[in-house]
Amino acid sequence: MKTETKAVDIDRDKGDFAYPEVHVRDAGRGLSEKTIHYISDVKEDPDWVREFRLRGLKTFLEKPLPTHWASKDLEAIDFDKIRYYLSPGTGAKRSWEEVPDDIKRTFERLGIPEQERKFLAGVEAQFDSEAVYSNIKKAVGEQGVIFVGSTEGLKNHPEIFRKWFGKVIPIGDNKFSALNSAVFSGGSFIYVPPGVKVKHPLQAYFRINAESFGQFERTLIIADEGSEVTYMEGCTAPKFETVALHSAVVELVALKGAKLQYITVQNWSSNVFNLVTKRGLAHEDAEIKWIDCNIGSRLTMKYPGVVLKGRKSRGEVLSIALANNGQHQDTGAKMIHAADETTSNIISKSISIGTGRATYRGLVHVPKHLKHCKNNTECDALLINATSRTDTYPAITVRGTGNSVQHEASVSQVSAEQIFYMQQRGLTEAQAMSLSVNGFVNDLVRQFPMEYSVELKRLIELEMEGSVG
């Protein structure tokens, strides 16, 4: 295929709006101990949380940017110009009626409530840094499921959350996990009691609204023995003039026999730096599955991982990345095998359009004296235009016998014959292209929950508009 291409102009209307900001609490720009104390005061943090934040700040300031392996684009982030904490000044709401009208309007444009509320067990929507709306269907609450914001979780349920908070992803894991540890606000803390199977996915929406405002949500999900839960996270953000930073930390803990699934559809606007640390800890017989879909942002660096700590635990990462003009999707997966008979599976598909760049970075670690561990990794990349770029950088360590690890990757482009075939049958080239790309990701998308796969297909069609012709 040889097609010269114009820049893709994406229809971002849907997320491209902002209502006047009314922020009651504002920590100002820049980051210092003062900022930390301000946040802790506003949130009425327990002392140990304040300590935790201060240690996070220290580590963040000490660690250099990881530009020896990561994109130099990180240097474009001006940490002194970012506002680290904003709050609408309203506490978490229990009923829809109590949510302020302008925020309601924002959500309505995004299409969160009404149609989806019926579908989903609970909605924890995050507007800027505070949860403004949180509602778990009665049934889930009755099962003993705790679904709260991070502040509330640490304050009201320390006996449950403190044990695992910051344990799966320690403060010093990387520069951005340290930053999050210092200034986190918002996010979801979830506890599912033993044996409880949450039928409907729990869902939260995150948005960045104030200009130059980083969002640092912190999520911790604990699935107790034999329980099952699916969590969905979707992101859209309005466009802004200056650079925005999003740096979340998500920790998952699946205790014996539990099943935990975490689904992300990331569609930040194309000026957002999305630097996220996500990791799960799987105990015996437990299963953790990350479904990760990255469409938006300027630079995303995100490598969801699973530490397979218990015998026969399973980890899986399914990842789709779409890099359009000016975007760099630096995504991947980490699988740390730490017990016998653990299995992991990574499937990654990426599409590069225009000058977009998609990178897969992977880590598979099988230390010695483990038996019958298996890993399978597949990475497929599709290049649409002559200026598109894709990279694959896996690192695989295997010690000892009795384990099997395989990695495969391929890079290809849309088959000219396929396009010709479809055009012959009356489709335009763009339609054919879009269909072909959807076919490329179809076997992965099919594994997504229904409403997400529909949304995803539409997003891909949108991104493909104007990429040929």
């Binding site: 392996w69 000892g400 009795g402 099997s404 395989q406 990757a409």
Partner: protein, 441 residues
């Protein structure tokens, strides 16, 4: 060589002035050596945090104990020449020990009449200065060992220059031996191979130690140039002694419609790092990169490769296989890079590790960087152990476990060796592999 050079370790500045007084090399080359020394000193020692050295045991790269090799004794010389046995039939041969050329079998009169030049490096500097200056270390060593390439350039004093003119095909392989002799000795092997249009040649290098227990340091650089339509095959049989630290940096440039094939067999040394950069500079170029390693005891083999597709319609195929036993470690860091506009690239990369013990470790980093869209690039990496069913099949036919294991492993490695499509060399390499198994089991 005199005692002056002998007392200085290879990483102290005094060594250079000592050398310059003693060696009969052209002024311009000495100047380059001085500049290279400055560069060696200015580049910091690699750490494991440097991406190109990830997983590598950089602590072993302490050069302090090593000294320049002196003149070998008559006794050692006789032993080396006696043991310099490789292939049965060769077109020509050079034998080096340290910085010293011990023996030289020139090419046939017929070949030299047709313009084939096969001579020590220091003679080529003078007699073929133009060719030498154009191609000698003309490509930056970019896979991590720039510091050691600079050291090599500063201290190299001999090596091989081979020029094969237009249309000349040399049927028999050309053989080069490099020996390490003496405690803490060093060697800086260099091969500058230039082929003109439609030329054809095979070169095999043997790296060996006279005493397998002596410590030593080897730091080699090869420049291999395949002219338009030329066919170049390079084979390296690395079998240094058990306490040798070795670095080898090879750069291959493949011109249009040319093909280059390389095979690195890694058997010896305590630590051996092999960097192979293959640049596909002309349309229709093809490069095959092959490697086999048998790692036992504490051995560490570190292979770094780059298949650099610069022009459209180029192909490359990499197959690296490692068999690991005891506490051995193998690291593979490879990259296929398709430059912008290098459309119609067909690139393949495969690394397979066979782990035979619980303490062996294989690290694989197969990478892709694709900046053009009309390409077909795939890579794969596997790590596993001997298939139980294969083992059962052999045992049920009365073959004892150790023999069955050996058969399976040699079968696994043989696939790579056969790719050479040169029976005599394949037989020779298989013999070396067998001998290693015989010693280690």
């Amino acid at each position: 060589m005199s005692a002056i050079a002998h007392d200085e370790t290879v990483n102290s500045k005094g060594i250079l002035s000592g050398l310059l007084e003693l060696r009969d090399l052209p002024d311009w080359f000495r100047e380059q050596q001085h500049a290279a020394w400055e560069k060696f000193e200015s580049i910091p020692r690699p750490t494991r945090k440097d991406q190109p050295w990830r997983f590598s045991n950089v602590d072993l790269l302490d050069l302090a104990p090593f000294k320049l090799s002196g003149t070998v004794s008559d006794q050692a010389r006789a032993a080396i020449l006696e043991q310099s046995n490789g292939l049965d039939e060769v077109a020509a041969r050079l034998v080096f020990a340290g910085d010293q050329l011990l023996e030289r079998d020139v090419v046939s009169e017929q070949l030299s009449k047709r313009g084939v030049i096969f001579q020590p490096l220091e003679r080529a500097m003078v007699e073929h200065a133009d060719l030498f200056r154009k191609y000698f270390m003309s490509t930056e060593v970019s896979l991590g060992s720039a510091k050691f390439a600079a050291l090599h350039q500063a201290l190299v004093s001999t090596g091989t220059f081979l020029f094969v003119p237009r249309g000349v095909e040399i049927d028999q392989p050309i053989e080069i031996f490099h020996w390490l002799a003496g405690e803490n000795a060093t060697v800086f092997p260099h091969l500058l191979l230039v082929t003109d249009e439609l030329a054809k040649v095979t070169v095999i290098e043997h790296f060996r130690s006279l005493d397998r227990n002596q410590r030593g340091f080897a730091c080699g650089v090869n420049d291999l140039l395949a002219g338009p339509g030329a066919k170049v095959t390079y084979v390296c049989a690395q079998n240094w002694g058990d306490n040798v630290v070795a670095l080898q940096m090879n750069t291959t440039a493949v011109d249009h419609d040319a093909s280059a094939m390389s095979l690195n067999l890694n058997l010896g040394s305590r630590y051996s790092r092999f960097e192979s950069l293959s640049r596909l500079v002309g349309e229709g170029a093809r490069s095959d990169l092959l490697a086999v390693a048998v790692a036992t005891n504490e051995q560490e083999f570190d292979a770094r490769t780059l298949q650099d597709h610069i022009s459209p319609h180029t192909a490359s195929d990499l197959l690296y296989k490692n068999a690991l036993d005891d506490r051995a470690r193998c690291t593979f860091g490879g990259l296929i890079r398709v430059e912008p506009h290098a459309h119609f690239t067909d690139a393949y990369q495969k690394v397979r590790n066979l782990l035979l013990s619980d303490d062996s470790e294989a690290n694989s980093m197969p990478g892709l960087e694709i900046l053009a869209d009309n390409v077909r690039c795939t890579h794969g990496a596997t790590s596993g152990q001997i298939n139980e069913e294969e083992m059962f099949y052999l045992r049920s036919r009365g073959i004892p476990v150790p023999v069955a294991q050996r058969l399976i492993v040699t079968g696994f490695l043989n696939e790579v060796v056969q790719r050479l499509d040169q029976a005599a060399i394949a037989d020779y390499l298989n013999q070396l592999i067998d001998r290693k198994f015989a010693h280690s089991r």
